[in-house]
């Protein structure tokens, strides 16, 4: 058993560029104009990444796990001033866009998906926690699970520390139970290691696991912007970058204690 095959992946940096590659993403008409006007940057990027990772071709009973550290923080920032009025009026669109599962809701509507979705959030370990959720879904027999992650740069929430997230980033990984086609690679293992008396040594663990790359608690996206989903960026960059086969070790402390350790294997591709 090599873990679970990764059938598709996609990632968007800064809202308009691929994580791996040059130039802006080509135009895409998946999101109708009337929807485009109503949604946040985050929702738009989640829809794009989920589709680009092959979400429209997914099994009808494959579920979507969305991971985000701050959710619709800028939408909350847009709502708060309206609460100060003598007769507060909250825009219905902003209100339903403010929930953490707004993006998966739009995805289900636009992609006509009846399968389940959930939204996981756990600070800087949101991606890693979502991957453990996906791991349990696959082990529990779901034929296909797509994990999409996204957080916007904090631009409309002066009360939050914007240095936590300084650039838009969104990505998606599509995993399947059975290997029946071309692959990007494998989700080989996910575990939460308890805190121990000795300091965690990613290099020593990577040697044991014969990993070719290490992402030990990454804090920034390629290019240097701080981002709570930098772990996902490291994984997607590893999988999407052309080159030889390899193995990535990702380690990330959980805000509640312990450390997520994820292992990904990559197939050679050009």
């Amino acid at each position: 058993m090599k873990g679970f095959p990764i059938r598709g992946a996609a990632a968007i940096l800064g809202g308009d560029r691929p994580l791996v590659g040059e130039g802006p993403l080509p135009e895409d008409d998946f999101i109708p104009k009337n929807v485009r006007r109503r949604i946040s940057r985050l929702i738009g990027q989640v829809l794009r990444a989920t589709k680009d990772a092959g979400g429209l071709e997914a099994a009808t009973d494959g579920s979507l796990v969305f991971a985000t550290a701050n959710g619709e923080i800028n939408t909350i920032g847009a709502i708060l001033p309206s609460l100060l009025a003598d007769e507060p009026q909250v825009s219905p669109t902003l209100f339903h866009n403010s929930v953490h599962n707004a993006a998966p809701g739009y995805w289900a509507i636009l992609a006509k998906r009846l399968a389940a979705s959930t939204t996981i959030t756990m600070g800087a370990a949101s991606f890693e926690a979502a991957m453990l959720e996906a791991w349990t879904r696959l082990h529990d027999g779901e034929p296909e699970v797509q994990v999409t992650v996204g957080d916007e740069a904090i631009t409309a929430a002066a009360w939050a520390d914007p240095s936590h997230c300084t650039q838009d980033f969104c990505g998606s990984l599509r995993m399947v139970l059975e290997d029946d086609g071309p692959l990007l690679g494998w989700l080989t293992s996910v575990a939460l290691l308890p805190d121990g008396p000795a300091p965690f040594d990613a290099v020593a663990l990577a040697e044991v696991l014969e990993a070719t790359e290490i992402a030990d608690d990454p804090a920034t996206l390629p290019g240097g912007a701080a981002h709570p989903l930098a772990g996902a960026a490291a994984v997607l960059s590893f999988l999407l970058r052309p080159g030889d086969a390899g193995r990535l070790l990702l380690a990330r402390p959980s805000p509640a204690g312990g450390r997520y350790v994820l292992v990904f294997d990559k197939e050679a591709h050009g």
Binding site: I79, H100, A102, A108, S117, T121, A160, A256
Partner: protein, 391 residues
């Protein structure tokens, strides 16, 4: 699926903080909904407010303090004896935590924003949604996987489902599942803006229903892989199954024929390995909005027919949003344990379009074995949980 034992369950709501208070209000048909809110001063619509004092968090967690985390702590505290009993056989890294919330510390953010633009507000501890799972994990000394699930009004149910998978796959031996939401102005004015709030006490399934009332609270339960040996305090309660799906219809309006509701109820029965005749009660989502109640009744009848007794308990508690599924699971488990079904408070004249068997008064249910609890959310996120009892 193999049943997952439930070793303890708590609920904090406008009906009180103890099982006895909850039971007494349900039996007496006494609502917790009222105007004159202290949390939302000046709010015209009734709300289900927790009026009990909310003790501050322990000093070590003071940075995470909010009305939301205080409600959460209140729901977790009574589980201490159960968790103490588990620690002898389950190491802390095998104990997980999953918490559902839809608004986290938003009420405190609103006050801070009004005071000074929230200049000194510690968003990353007091508001960021993952913080509620950090607080819960520290309060119960869990060292296993911990995260927050946030799918609006089905958050509490998706938290239960997430926990169930951690157990079914052997990732954890026990999981503390909680859900919490505090009243806040964002949701109050948000639902008003959608035109789905009733200025009167809400009337689920009534022909004259005009919308929901908001509530607040928290709930918690301990789910385990295996029931401990030895004598039990009461009947064996368990999670028997679940259904979850998307409506793919509209961000806020339910699909009017109840197809989404029917799909998750049917899936829940299938996963539990039971049929409609095994179900003795359904705790409905029943928000009292015209659209929800009509669609849910249609979905219910498609799967379970017109004989299964059911009720919405939002006429007692209001709609607790992210905590609704947790508190309603506690009410459902109490119905199974007590063999007594709560009434659908607030319905005076049943909508003739509603074919489901809505309980106008509470009902004795001797020998009841299984009950469902439905929760539906923005984005068309539908869930149905199946609980069971063995005597």
């Amino acid at each position: 699926m193999d049943p997952l034992p439930i070793l303890g369950c708590t609920a904090v709501s406008a009906l009180g903080t103890t099982p006895d208070q909850l039971r007494a209000s349900l039996r007496a048909g006494r609502t917790g909904l009222a105007t004159g809110s202290q949390v939302l001063p000046g709010a015209a619509c009734p709300v289900g407010e927790v009026r009990d004092p909310l003790p501050p968090l322990p000093e070590s967690l003071a940075a995470y303090d909010s009305r939301c985390t205080r409600l959460l702590a209140l729901a977790l505290a009574p589980l201490a004896p159960v968790l103490d009993g588990l620690r002898a056989r389950i190491p802390a890294p095998r104990l997980g935590v999953v918490v559902g919330t839809s608004a986290s510390g938003n009420r405190d953010l609103e006050d801070a924003y009004r005071a000074d633009g929230a200049a000194g507000y510690d968003y990353h501890r007091r508001q960021v949604f993952g913080a509620v799972a950090v607080v819960a994990a520290r309060l119960v000394d869990a060292r296993g996987p911990a995260w927050t699930v946030s799918t609006a009004c089905s958050s509490g149910a998706n938290a239960v489902i997430s926990a169930a998978r951690l157990l079914r796959t052997g990732t954890c031996d026990a999981v503390v599942v909680a859900s919490v939401d505090a009243l806040c102005w964002t949701t109050y004015h948000g639902f008003r803006g959608l035109g789905v709030m009733d200025a009167r006490t809400c009337r689920p399934f009534d022909v004259d229903r005009q919308g929901l009332n908001l509530g607040e609270g928290a709930a918690a339960m301990v789910l385990v892989r295996d029931r401990p040996q030895g004598p039990a305090d009461g009947p064996d309660l368990f999670l028997a199954g679940w259904g979850a799906g998307s409506e793919a219809y509209h961000m806020t309006a339910p699909e009017p024929e109840g197809e989404g509701a029917a799909r998750v109820m049917a899936e829940a029965l299938g996963r539990a390995g039971i049929g409609p005749s095994d179900v003795g009660y359904v705790n409905l989502h029943g928000t009292a909005t015209p659209a929800n109640d009509s669609a849910e009744s249609r979905g219910m009848v498609k799967v379970l027919g017109t004989d299964v007794p059911c009720s919405s308990t939002k006429g007692f508690t209001g709609h607790l949003l992210g905590a609704a599924a947790g508190v309603e699971a506690a009410i459902t488990l109490m119905a199974l344990a007590d063999e007594r079904l709560p009434c659908n408070l607030g319905c005076q004249t049943l909508d003739p379009d509603v074919q489901a068997r809505i309980l106008r008064e509470d009902l004795a249910a001797p020998g009841i074995r299984y009950a469902l609890s439905n929760s539906f959310a923005f984005g068309g996120n539908d869930t149905s949980l199946v609980f069971g009892v063995r005597r």
